[in-house]
């Protein structure tokens, strides 16, 4: 796992700090376009709040649709950070090094974006507070703490806090490098943020221990977040196809599937726009591709379990819902597209090594996974609700309005904008991690072959 040339610390600083110290020409035009998309989204959200949820395609019984789908989708993307950073750090996987920072930052921005969706979905966002905090002691009106809708924000806020702490701790040594490479106001800000980092042995020890501890502590939070999101659905016995015991692991592994795919795509973009070919190498994309085969297959297994045991009970109302999902247009077509682009197509593309090393193919496969995973959430939420009622005359279908479409699209603009702005201020590849990898890099002579090797620290 060591391709490319050996890099010196000076060269690493120069290459990875270039986007921060030298402004790329395309930066402001890109920021302008993305800001415009976000502005449109904010305006539409304002319009929806002003006019009420009637401007959306929501109805009875389909009260959850595009916005909740998008919420689950972004929560899913946020799972990449911990998967790539915490788990691979604990597993001491060498190839994690260039991917960790982008994954962690994507976690924070995806989580923040996800939070906006249910808040907007309330229609009256200022009233959301009533569901979380006690507000009328006199009448004994309390939020139901047994509701997953209360667990949700608690888990997400815990995850957001711990992920932010995780990124900050990993950023300190890199901010100190930035402090030493800047002057004026920037220097003063970076000095403040670097928390007096001097890189002595004691500071490194604390930084490493904090990183490992946070990695271990964040894992249960990471699992709890998407599990609780899944229980928003799974705890309901009235909506057929939702009350499934496998929802929690199914959602978590699905989140990892979409999140890691998103990180691969972000890494490919970073490699291309910043010219980081020496850092984000094809071997890294290859390794992530192999990881994705395993993750995708595990996800597919849970999908099969969910479907098989949906039909297994042979209950009339659930069978009617499944019949709609699999046999009626347009759901049947959507199901085929979903299964095809989320599992069969990308895994077929990830299997050959040459394809895993082709950045175009990898980008295509990763986008395909994320479109599919978005569709998956939609296909869980809407068909179940459409057939929620016992009486057939109350069955409803759903079509998204332009309001929901715009809101969903603008969230992609928001996450891209936040990533772009972050990359202008902080390095998106951890400098110290890359340097450590270079220090530990060596080789072993086996017969006539030189085999790449790593110095083992323990």
């Amino acid at each position: 796992m060591q391709e490319g040339r050996a890099l010196t610390p000076t060269q690493i600083n120069r290459d990875l700090l270039r986007p921060i110290l030298e402004q790329p020409k395309w930066f402001w035009p890109a920021v302008f376009v993305l800001s415009l998309i976000v502005l449109v989204g904010v305006s539409v959200a304002g319009y929806m709040i002003n006019r009420g949820l009637g401007v959306t395609g929501l109805n009875r019984p389909v009260a959850w649709a595009f916005m909740i789908t998008n919420f689950v989708f972004w929560i899913g993307i946020s799972h990449a950070g911990v998967m790539l950073s915490a788990i691979l750090r604990l597993a001491k996987a060498e190839w994690r090094r260039p991917a960790t920072r982008a994954a962690e930052v994507l976690t924070i921005f995806a989580l923040s974006t996800a939070l906006t969706m249910p808040i907007m979905h309330t229609g009256r966002p200022w009233r959301a507070i009533y569901w979380l905090f006690p507000y009328d002691f006199a009448r004994g009106v309390w939020p139901s703490v047994r509701s997953p809708l209360v667990w949700d924000p608690s888990a997400i806020m815990t995850y957001l806090t711990s992920s932010t702490l995780f990124v900050l701790i990993a950023l300190v040594p890199d901010i100190a490098v930035l402090r030493d490479h800047t002057t004026g106001v920037a220097h003063r800000i970076y000095s403040l943020l670097s928390l007096g980092w001097q890189g002595n042995a004691r500071q490194w020890k604390f930084q490493v221990v904090a990183g490992v501890l946070l990695s271990a502590l964040i894992l249960p939070v990471f699992v709890s977040v998407h599990s609780i999101v899944s229980w928003d659905f799974g705890m309901s016995v009235t909506v057929k196809a939702w009350h499934s015991t496998t929802f929690a692991p199914y959602f978590v592994i699905g989140a990892v599937h979409s999140g890691v795919s998103a990180v691969v795509f972000v890494m490919i973009i970073l490699r291309q726009i910043y010219g980081w070919q020496d850092y984000i190498r094809k071997e890294h994309i290859d390794a992530l591709g192999r990881l994705l085969i395993v993750v995708a297959t595990a996800w597919f297994y849970f999908l099969c379990m969910e479907i098989i045991f949906g039909i297994y009970g042979r209950e009339a109302d659930e069978l009617a819902m499944r019949e709609m999902q699999f046999l009626q247009y347009p759901w049947n077509v959507l199901m085929i597209i979903f299964a095809g682009i989320t599992y069969f197509l990308p895994v077929a593309l990830w299997l050959p090594r040459t394809f895993r090393r082709n950045l175009w193919i990898m980008s295509f496969a990763c986008i395909s996974v994320n479109v599919g995973m978005w569709l998956e959430r939609y296909l869980i939420i809407v068909p179940g609700l459409a057939r929620k009622q016992v009486f057939t005359f109350t069955w409803q279908t759903y079509m998204p309005s332009w309001v929901e479409l715009t809101l969903v699209l603008s969230t992609f603009g928001l996450v891209s904008l936040l990533l772009l702005l972050f990359s202008r201020v902080f390095p998106l590849i951890p400098l110290y991690d890359i340097k450590e990898g270079e220090f530990l890099r060596t080789s072993v002579q086996v017969g006539r072959r030189t085999v790449p090797a790593t110095i083992r620290e323990d």
């Binding site: 297959t297 072993v444 790449p452």
Partner: protein, 472 residues
């Protein structure tokens, strides 16, 4: 006796390294051919246990026959216990070979050797098919189902019996194919020093192995492909066993997480068993120089993760049923978790989660050779309790064709024949494993030798460190 690499390179005492490749092969093969006296004692004890198991089985068949599945609950529990361990064990070799983990080398063959127990699984599975109720209700009483709930739904030709059997036989064959392909280079090497019947056997099993580059490439590609196929097939067969012999027999039990939970328990218990065998070999088998602390330390982290995953899956099942408040689900919780099998569940949770969790939580304990094996002992007890709770419960849950569990049935406690069967077949499995260890070298010689090639010591900063190569 292998000459240890310590003699030639200045390794720190606390660092385990692979033995020298020049002498490792000869030493390991000679140990296979001439085992130590403890081996013979273990063989006698487990052989007696197997005989008791057979007595228990014959007595059970003579007293209860094969018409009703209820008396066979403990037999099913011990079958499932052995099946989940032996079925998943070869995957440990396959999985860590795939991730190119060096620490796996001493435990590869130990895990692959469990494939020979596929024969026992197949033999034990036949009576279970005889007691499995048919899909169609032979006598519909009241509001009973005409066709019982089953993963075979409408029932393709030969279901459930032939398909279930095909699954278990297929898995056994695949497992043995992995073992044979992996052991081929070692058997070819062993052939050179063996004599008489053993030489003929090794010659037959090793085929035309000369160790050419092409043969090595075919062997590695074959192992990867067989491993991937084995993994998928294992998931399918475990899905069959968990659903067909557990869930389907309990009226109204619809639980999509149960097959994944079963698989997690099987991964946890198989890794635990392998670590236990590894520890026994290191401590009493004379393999200390081949089995360092590194495999225990690394595998203990995986065992810890699996322990957490077990609890997570169990929690996901519990919380969904508990929160739903449906009568059928509440009765299933009472039956399997809180009332009828409450004590067995308590043992299951304490031994499968709490005890290993608190043992494996501490890095200093994980770093010791005894840490993970100690946790493994508890896990195996917990796994047995899991299988008793689920399968004895499922086999005694009333009429399979009822719509749902209307009342909470009482627990079924074991009689003498059940105890004979449980103890006897576990002993029988150990007996067969010990016999297989007389044929195949218990450590993978070629992997140990390969590992020795990929290591060196190097000065780095102020210290001297081990360098391990990771070829692509």
């Amino acid at each position: 006796m292998a000459e240890h690499a310590h003699h030639h390179q200045p390794y720190p005492d606390d660092m385990w390294v692979f033995p020298r490749r020049e002498t490792a092969a000869q030493d390991l093969v000679s140990r296979t051919i001439a085992p130590i006296s403890r081996y013979r004692i273990a063989l006698i004890i487990t052989g007696v246990l197997l005989a008791l198991g057979v007595v228990g089985f014959i007595a059970r068949a003579a007293t209860d026959g094969f018409d009703d599945h209820a008396p066979w609950g403990y037999y099913m529990a011990v079958f499932s216990f052995l099946f989940m361990i032996t079925g998943a064990a070869p995957l440990v070799a396959v999985g860590f070979r795939f991730t190119k983990s060096h620490w796996r080398r001493p435990l590869s063959r130990i895990s692959e050797l469990f494939a020979v127990l596929g024969v026992l699984n197949v033999l034990m599975f036949i009576p279970l098919l005889m007691v499995l109720p048919p899909l169609k209700n032979p006598e519909v009483v009241g509001h009973q189902l005409e066709i019982r709930r089953s993963i075979w739904f409408g029932g393709p030709i030969g279901s459930p019996y032939w398909w279930d059997m095909l699954g278990v036989v297929g898995l056994a064959v695949l497992g043995m194919a992995i073992l044979w392909l992996s052991a081929m280079p070692d058997l070819a090497g062993a052939k050179l020093t063996a004599t008489g019947f053993r030489r003929k056997l090794y010659g037959l099993l090793a085929g035309r192995w000369y160790g050419s580059k092409r043969q090595w490439n075919i062997q590695k590609a074959g192992l990867a492909m067989l491993g991937a196929f084995y993994f998928m097939f294992l998931l399918f067969v475990q899905f069959i066993v968990a659903s067909e012999f557990g869930m389907a027999l309990v009226p109204g039990w619809k639980d999509s997480i149960f097959p994944p939970l079963y698989t997690i328990v099987s991964f946890q218990s198989s890794l635990a068993t392998i670590l236990l065998v590894l520890f026994i070999l290191r401590k009493w088998g004379g393999y200390e120089q081949y089995i360092g602390v590194s495999p225990f330390w690394s595998a203990s982290k995986i065992l810890f993760a699996l322990t957490m995953l077990w609890t997570y899956h169990l929690w996901a099942f519990f919380i969904t049923f508990w929160y739903g408040r449906l009568q059928v689900e509440q009765n299933i919780l009472k039956y399997f978790l809180f009332e009828s099998y409450g004590w067995v569940f308590f043992v299951n949770v304490v031994f499968s989660f709490f005890t290993p969790f608190f043992i494996l939580l501490w890095n200093p304990v994980r770093k010791k050779a005894w840490g993970a094996p100690l946790a493994a002992c508890f896990i195996l007890v917990g796994t047995l309790a899991f299988n008793i709770r689920i399968f004895v419960g499922a086999f005694n849950a009333g009429h399979t064709f009822d719509h749902f569990l209307e009342t909470v049935p009482p627990p079924a406690w074991p009689d003498l024949w059940d105890i004979f069967m449980v103890g006897g077949f576990i002993g029988g499995a150990v007996f067969i494993y010990l016999l297989a260890a007389r044929v195949f070298p218990i450590l993978s010689v070629w992997e140990i030798k390969e590992g020795a090639l990929y290591q060196k010591m190097e000065n780095f900063m102020h210290g001297r460190y081990m360098v391990l190569a990771k070829p692509e």
